[in-house]
Symmetry: D2
Amino acid sequence: MPPSTPLLPDQQAEIDTLRSSPQSTLRAVAPGMEKHLYTAHAVLDHGFVRVVDYMGDDAAICQAARVSYGKGTKSVSNDEGLIRYLMRHWHSTPFEMCELKLHVKLPVFVARQWIRHRTANVNEYSARYSILDREFYIPAPEHVNAQSEVNNQGRGEVLQGEEAARVLDLLKADSDRCYDNYQAMISSDGQSGLARELARMNLPANIYTQWYWKVDLHNLFHFLRLRADAHAQYEIRVYAEAICAIAADWVPFAYKAFADYRLGAVTMSSQMVDCMRRMLKGETVTQETSGMSAREWREFEEVTQS
Amino acid sequence: MPPSTPLLPDQQAEIDTLRSSPQSTLRAVAPGMEKHLYTAHAVLDHGFVRVVDYMGDDAAICQAARVSYGKGTKSVSNDEGLIRYLMRHWHSTPFEMCELKLHVKLPVFVARQWIRHRTANVNEYSARYSILDREFYIPAPEHVNAQSEVNNQGRGEVLQGEEAARVLDLLKADSDRCYDNYQAMISSDGQSGLARELARMNLPANIYTQWYWKVDLHNLFHFLRLRADAHAQYEIRVYAEAICAIAADWVPFAYKAFADYRLGAVTMSSQMVDCMRRMLKGETVTQETSGMSAREWREFEEVTQS
Amino acid sequence: MPPSTPLLPDQQAEIDTLRSSPQSTLRAVAPGMEKHLYTAHAVLDHGFVRVVDYMGDDAAICQAARVSYGKGTKSVSNDEGLIRYLMRHWHSTPFEMCELKLHVKLPVFVARQWIRHRTANVNEYSARYSILDREFYIPAPEHVNAQSEVNNQGRGEVLQGEEAARVLDLLKADSDRCYDNYQAMISSDGQSGLARELARMNLPANIYTQWYWKVDLHNLFHFLRLRADAHAQYEIRVYAEAICAIAADWVPFAYKAFADYRLGAVTMSSQMVDCMRRMLKGETVTQETSGMSAREWREFEEVTQS
Amino acid sequence: MPPSTPLLPDQQAEIDTLRSSPQSTLRAVAPGMEKHLYTAHAVLDHGFVRVVDYMGDDAAICQAARVSYGKGTKSVSNDEGLIRYLMRHWHSTPFEMCELKLHVKLPVFVARQWIRHRTANVNEYSARYSILDREFYIPAPEHVNAQSEVNNQGRGEVLQGEEAARVLDLLKADSDRCYDNYQAMISSDGQSGLARELARMNLPANIYTQWYWKVDLHNLFHFLRLRADAHAQYEIRVYAEAICAIAADWVPFAYKAFADYRLGAVTMSSQMVDCMRRMLKGETVTQETSGMSAREWREFEEVTQS
């Protein structure tokens, strides 16, 4: 199946029907978002992100900030300026006035990280009620990395040769065997068949699950700031990046402000601000004279140089 | 101004423009809701409720419960049955997949009760930044009641004659005087003019404020169950009732299930269930033999007789 | 290891030290709870629930409801009456004034259900950062059930004989093999060693994880109502029951009110209330004359008879 | 009444009793916090902040981050380093493991700002149920300011002479008259007496209310960052500052990290970071060559110079 359509033919047919039936509405419509509706954007080997619904647009953020009677926009440039001001000064409530609903297919170990963001609404496919499909995440060879030696919580170099091959073989074999046995246990062919709510415990964390996930724009940005970050695990970061691209089409002013004031921004501690000022006045500052720990100083150097 | 259009002419003009410009969308559209969009439903003497936006419909609840690829509906009757099942068994997450955004104008003392429901998004008109209008809630004579003698937290009989007249005179006079002095303090005519963030403290709690309020359907139902209840204060109950009428047009199946299983439902304690069963078997049960306190017994009689 | 102490000797030693060092405090102390502090109550084959900290007691609920200056208690019997009144009339905020912090060890598939309760604080052991232990949930033979034939989301009869034996063998063998391969992949012995954040994906959902979980009493009761219920999966219900026993010692009045008005209570729809009233007046009501669907009528019979 | 004891004698007596009865507990005790328990710290003319209860200390943050079995501390210096790391890298969940419960007395217009922070538990004194006291906030002369001319949402110079005197006279007179009429309306002396839930609408926003407010440390820090900020309104900032002093005694390491990485920190946009780097390399950057708007450039100059 080509990576851009990770759906089965009948699933695709249902979506095609929906996409061919535009309806009339009096609500705010975001033209850049309509093209994404229902389309499955492929992520990883079997996953996807699909926009199921959205509420609001850039203008809706301003409308709420102004508690307007009508659309409340004086001009488009005013809107962009207001949105940047709101973002810069941490006025978060107007961004909460936009809402996004996604259908996401993702490996269970990614879902477990994702769900830690509690300010969202979730309906997950139930393995108590239904039978999961035989779909497992097996990383591409270029994403099979060694444990990092400097960061307990990260990856190092890409594994090479036999070690890489062995990892991929083990992951595939264990996935397959566990799924075979899952099927064998629940089968009612010549036996009672184990309860699904029990059998699912045999499935490893690289199996795919799926859910509907609904979140407001403020909390979406918070999620993206943490998960589209270079320190996030690759397997969740690719989902965050796919959503970033969607959000940029949905609310272009808000997304640009987010990119400038959050994603690409840097928070400097009071010690860092002090050192920066001294350096701008021409003073030479070292870790010893900075008042920072070795670790903080290294982080400061990354900000000021690079 | 007639109660059905509590808007100024230019506000109405802005809204008329929006209502005359339908757009095309691929999202779910709730036909019963489109007619409410932007229309100000009058509440109390100067308040209103306006639908600014909505996400989802009855089908969207089922779609999320099934984690469907397409619309996911097999038949409309299946949808209603599923929705009633979800409501009856407290499966709340599918109802969270619908969202409502309202513009509400309401007295400050009502807003203070309303805001205690924390699971919603709010943007309120800022009296730090802007000047409030001279609009105060003065109850209609039939809603000026005495303190209840049986319920510390309720109203008794409607006040009559001179006492009622005096209450209305005092409310009007104090509102007017406080607003006159608010204006006098902030005026920059021949003086510096007091900061708005300070002057607002002179305004009584019957002044009107307004906000954008966004909430998901599950939390909306929770709000409506408490505030459309007979024990809620009249001045917030009328807002809840106006929203009930809107919700009934928006998600008719879900609203009917809510009316049957929440609004019109009764929760019986384990003692009450026990007594009911004994009575259905023909036993005569009295408070003495019920195991309930006098107060609980009175509540039980209300449920079983009425 | 006996089921009542599922801790390693050094873990037990740390806890013994804490338990032997009482300190003086001016805060509210719940005597019934002090005995539970730090003690690991065994749940399932390797899990536990430990109370790490708590805030408040029955009196604290009343103190908050009264917004008292001091302890605010006139008498203990007043406190119990107030607590029952608050519970009966869904005044939830005073119960939010008590807080519980637990350390829980539980299988991953149980953790995945548990985390859907979003109004709590969680710190989970990180398998990105650390290596998980070889501890898997293998059900006791009396808890290995067939899929229910009437309830898609439940269990039927206990499996017998060869089928049961085969299930247990498969669960054990797959757990062991997956863990062996997990170890083989992360080992740095003669190879680079796969990143932990990747290797964990090979572990099945019956592996144990652990977390700190902190929740207020209102949200704890909501969790317990759903998870100590007969319809909850056995493997999470035993955790809920262990916590029920702890809560009964911590806040005895509140727990009794919860048991009477929530756990043992029944919600009757408006149709059910109507039928009950007709039956109490002597009318014979059947499903046909009840206005209920077959399914609702069955649920009504369970309530009225049993 | 001296500002340090804004309590009535019987309230003080209740608190003195509590303070003289230490009890034994096995929970974590924060010595620096015990001295604050129940003591009313005066704020504004009649307000206060009182610590009613707390859960956890600096060590509890580390214990949760490590999901420890015991206290989990290897050494105090390790704890401080870990806390600073967690704060710097926005790992917020361990800070959620500490909890604070306050009793606060504050003017209604301050309460209305405060309550917008939704992630807290609140029980407010009910003016539906009870009668409010005659206590109004009247600003000290040095806090009666003109409207700012540069910031729509702020204050300018202190008002002088007759204008200031007139403001204070109006505030006092209106408070008194509104309260007199509130009393006249609810009085049952020779009349029925208006329901309290209605009469309260006559009271202006400078009347004092009080509530119990419970919040976890992460959300407390978020509140303090916004409300202890120079841009916050003076009347809420003094409450935030009183709470900062309490938090510094309660969790000294966490508070220090908060002060360095949040309160005293600066967030620089991607444009600002770029300009700073160019300047540190010796380039002269002006607004024209910066890529920033005039407003953003002004904010950048404040950060780099000051």
